[in-house]
């Protein structure tokens, strides 16, 4: 290791002497001392960076992050907040795993118990996307996640209770609460707004026309992503997928806590097969893609192969999409039996879990097959380990949903028109949504982008838009309430805010540390200050599903991880002794790694 053989003429004399001296020290037994001392360095200070979207894009997230920063700083954790724009934030966190912690919202409109499978199962820890972005791996959690897929009734409830408890303690992510969605709608052109932005996107199609002249529903959004990308498989560009789910149909749709048949008119659950239970789905017989091609069982079978591996098996390693991963893993094989029948072979799971797979967006084989190839830039391959399917903006999108693409202008607007050839069967005449969804009171939907929520509300107030497509800040509730033509739309929240941790590296790899951080968060205080009360604190990600055990229901002071203080003020002494007990040290208020 003396390096004499590598000496070149350019090496300075000092360097030669230096390495010679080092060599001497090493040979004379100093190396042992050196190595011992090297392991005894001063412990580094504990620091943490929280990434989240800037206030223009998400006032709630930024405000939460800043309050967390204050609490964590008080505990001696050197915390900084970094604002990052949505697509970049999700590229850094979900795809590249370059983060310590991030504040975001759960990316689907509805959560079911099995949603937790893809969110925290260790088999997804190395994948890119919304599937386990935390890198969490816990054998007990894995077992519970697998068990709940098979179980039903009381046994499942028990499993889910243990699972939620385990998650609250090990804390791969910290649930904060679910905000109410606050929107403004103008009643001059359209009416019947109540619930229009509820959990089912279909409700938007059930408005009533107030002005006979109104033919276009004009929405205004503060999220520009939908104007430049309509690929349902790309996590960085999707909010909660409301618009894309109107463009891309699925076999069934979630509606009021249950599933309603959609492109699939009926399905059977067959548990007698040797390879695993099978969902045998019959399609409607009048299905068409937006480009006029017929939608067949082959397309459906293709869809489930695509959401399992966007390379369709052509890459050495599977390239799963960055969304819909939980649903995809339920289906192990998909076969078209005839034009209208498809069989989905499922893993060992209950019917309820399997049926969730029916809500994945249907993809046209004649459009998506070529996207299974390696992604390139301008036709030049760059050896990317990803497929075109996970890179393309999918504009124009070819779906089979009630709305079809018309035009889009980057960072300005998106225009969709009614798909005239969408199926016209009444699914259930008693069901008002299913019946009226067939006859929306407009020919087109326009989504325009503006930079801030107050401007969005002003546009709705002035009559230049009919409603805000996304929720606005709670500070605008009074503005909306005061204006004559405006209706305040308050919808119970559809997805919770959370602080996600990257458990792949220190200090967040330590579950005790994460658990301690969860004691530094006063959820009620956040709900009161950030959301002016327009939110519900939550401890479990399943809050609102009716599957939360009593011990994990939110109650002031009564949670598994009580706040170490009161009214948003931390009790510094209590906090420090908690961290000291966990093996951490303090140096004049700064937390040091043990």
């Amino acid at each position: 290791m003396c390096g004499a053989s590598r000496l070149s003429r350019t090496t300075s004399r000092r360097a030669v002497l230096g390495s010679a001296a080092a060599g001497l020290a090493a040979t004379s037994g100093c190396m042992q001392r050196l190595r011992t001392l090297a392991g005894n360095k001063e412990s580094p200070a504990v620091s943490l960076s929280i990434k989240t979207r800037p206030a223009d894009e998400d006032p709630g997230a930024m405000h939460i992050a800043r309050q967390l920063e204050t609490w964590f700083d008080t505990a001696g954790v050197d915390t900084t907040v970094q604002p990052v724009t949505a697509t970049e934030l999700y590229r850094q966190t979900l795809l590249n795993h370059e983060f310590d912690a991030f504040v975001a919202r759960y990316p689907y409109r509805q959560i079911t118990a099995d949603s937790l499978y893809s969110l925290v199962h260790s088999s997804f820890a190395a994948e890119r996307g919304w599937q386990n972005p935390f890198g969490f791996a816990d054998l007990e959690v894995d077992e519970l996640l697998t068990a709940q897929r098979r179980q039903s009734d009381d046994r499942r409830a028990e499993t889910l209770a243990s699972l939620q408890k385990q998650l609250a303690n090990a804390c791969p992510f910290l649930v904060i609460g679910t905000p109410d969605s606050i929107r403004a709608a103008n009643t001059t052109r359209f009416s019947g707004w109540t619930g229009a932005f509820g959990k089912s996107p279909l409700r938007l199609l059930t408005l009533d026309r107030a002005d006979p002249e109104a033919t276009t529903l004009r929405l205004v959004t503060t999220d520009s992503r939908v104007t430049r990308n309509l690929n349902p498989l790309m996590a960085p560009f999707r909010r909660r997928g409301r618009i894309t789910s109107l463009v891309y149909d699925s076999l069934a749709r979630q509606y009021q806590g249950g599933l309603i048949p959609w492109a699939g008119v009926d399905w059977e659950w067959d548990t007698s097969r040797p390879d695993g239970p099978v969902l045998r789905v019959t399609l409607r017989d009048d299905l068409q893609w937006h480009d006029g091609e017929a939608l067949t069982a082959a397309d459906v079978a293709f869809t489930y192969r695509m959401v399992a591996d966007t390379s369709l098996g052509t890459f050495e390693q599977a390239v799963p999409p960055t969304r819909y991963r939980g649903r995809a893993t339920v289906v192990t094989a998909a076969t078209a039996i005839d034009e209208r029948t498809v069989e989905l072979t499922c893993t060992d799971c209950s019917r309820a879990v399997a049926e969730r797979a029916l809500t994945a967006p249907l993809l046209a084989e004649h459009v998506w097959r070529e996207r299974a190839s390696e992604a390139d830039i301008g036709g030049v391959g760059i050896g990317a380990a990803t497929t075109e399917a996970l890179v393309t903006d999918a504009i124009p999108p070819v779906g089979s949903g009630p709305l079809q693409f018309d035009t889009a202008s980057d960072r300005e607007s998106l225009r969709l028109t009614l798909f005239e050839d969408h199926f016209r069967t009444t699914i259930d005449p008693a069901d008002s949504v299913a019946a009226s969804a067939l006859d929306p009171p407009f020919d087109a939907v326009e989504v325009g982008f503006v930079g801030s929520d107050s401007t969005a509300v002003e546009l709705v107030e002035s009559g230049d838009a009919d409603a805000t497509a996304v929720g606005v800040g709670s500070d605008l509730v009074r503005t909306i309430g005061r204006a004559d033509d405006l209706t305040l739309l308050l919808d119970q929240g559809d997805s919770f805010y959370f602080l996600g941790f990257n458990v792949r590296s220190a200090p967040l790899s330590n579950s005790r540390f994460r658990n301690l951080l969860s004691h530094l968060v006063d959820r009620q205080y956040l709900v009161d200050t950030v959301f002016d009360g327009y939110a519900t604190p939550a401890v479990s990600p399943l809050a609102g599903t009716g599957q939360v055990p009593e011990t994990l229901q939110w109650g002031p002071g009564g949670t598994v991880t009580p706040f170490l203080g009161s009214d948003g003020e931390l009790d510094t002494e209590q906090v420090r002794s908690a961290f000291r007990e966990a093996g951490y040290r303090y140096d004049t208020g700064t937390l040091l790694q043990s």
Partner: protein, 268 residues
């Protein structure tokens, strides 16, 4: 109300301000005597004016593309800026009464647009085209360096970073202006403040023109000061952006007034 109508509103108000400015600061006699020479002067100052035009055109093309590039290669310095100055902007905001905020909101859009256009009119009406060239050149320097910084640094302003303490006052008081400002710039381009640097440039040039236009100096100084203040009080810029904006403005005037750029056909 849409982007076009707000832009038209700004155009109308700025035209009115220009008319008032020309009448009050230049005076009718001078306009009458200088009018025949305008075409010649525009030709003489064509190079710096075309350069400015080219940079502005490039600015609008590069803007969208630049934001993406900026996320790719730029460094996100928001938290660094916050570490330096903390809650200065929040404190400043809490001192400003509502009427003053409203005034600053209008200054930020109308006043600033007037402040940029009026010096070009003023210097065009001077026999010596040197000042026209200097002004155009100084603007160009501001935009070039500003754009470069916008690519190299990603930074969000106080309203985006600290919604808990800093109010987005411009958009809360006059929401329609957001339609205009979002067309003009992305919210990650705050370092340095071009509002500040260009206002400082105009104020410094007004000082150079004080012999010709003695009334312009106090007006320009007050307006420039208001614009600088507005960037912070409205929650758009950090004090750090403003400090670097002042430096950039001063640098641009220093560069633009160097004799080497005015060696050819100058009489003075």
């Amino acid at each position: 109300m849409n982007v076009v109508s707000v832009f038209s509103e700004v155009a109308v108000v700025v035209s009115l301000l220009l008319a008032v400015g020309v009448a009050g600061i230049v005076g009718p006699d001078r306009i009458r005597s200088e009018l025949p020479a305008l075409r010649t002067r525009l030709r003489q100052a064509a190079r710096p004016l075309l350069l400015l035009g080219a940079v502005l055109a490039a600015n609008s093309v590069v803007r969208d593309f630049g934001v993406g590039l900026s996320w790719l290669i730029g460094s996100n310095i928001t938290k660094t800026i916050y570490a330096i100055e903390g809650s200065f902007v929040a404190s400043l905001q809490s001192l400003a009464p509502a009427w003053f905020t409203l005034y600053l909101g209008f200054v930020y859009v109308y006043g600033y647009a007037f402040l940029l256009v009026f010096p070009l009119v003023l210097t065009l009406l001077l026999a010596n085209t040197r000042y026209l060239k200097e002004t155009a050149f100084a603007y160009t320097v501001n935009y070039v360096i500003g754009l470069l910084c916008y690519v190299l640094f990603v930074a969000y302003g106080p309203r985006n970073f600290a919604p808990d303490t800093v109010e987005p006052l411009l958009y809360d008081t006059i929401p329609r202006f957001q339609l205009v400002t979002s067309q003009v710039n992305a919210n990650t381009n705050v370092f340095p403040s071009l509002h500040t640097s260009l206002s400082v440039t105009v104020a410094l040039m007004a000082y150079r023109l004080r012999a010709e236009y003695p009334r312009w100096l106090p007006v320009a100084t007050c307006l420039a000061g208001s614009v600088v203040l507005s960037t912070m009080v409205l929650g758009i810029h950090w004090a750090t952006d403003v400090v670097f904006g002042v430096l950039l403005g001063a640098l641009s005037v220093y560069v633009a007034t160097r004799p080497r750029f005015h060696s050819e056909n100058e009489s003075s």
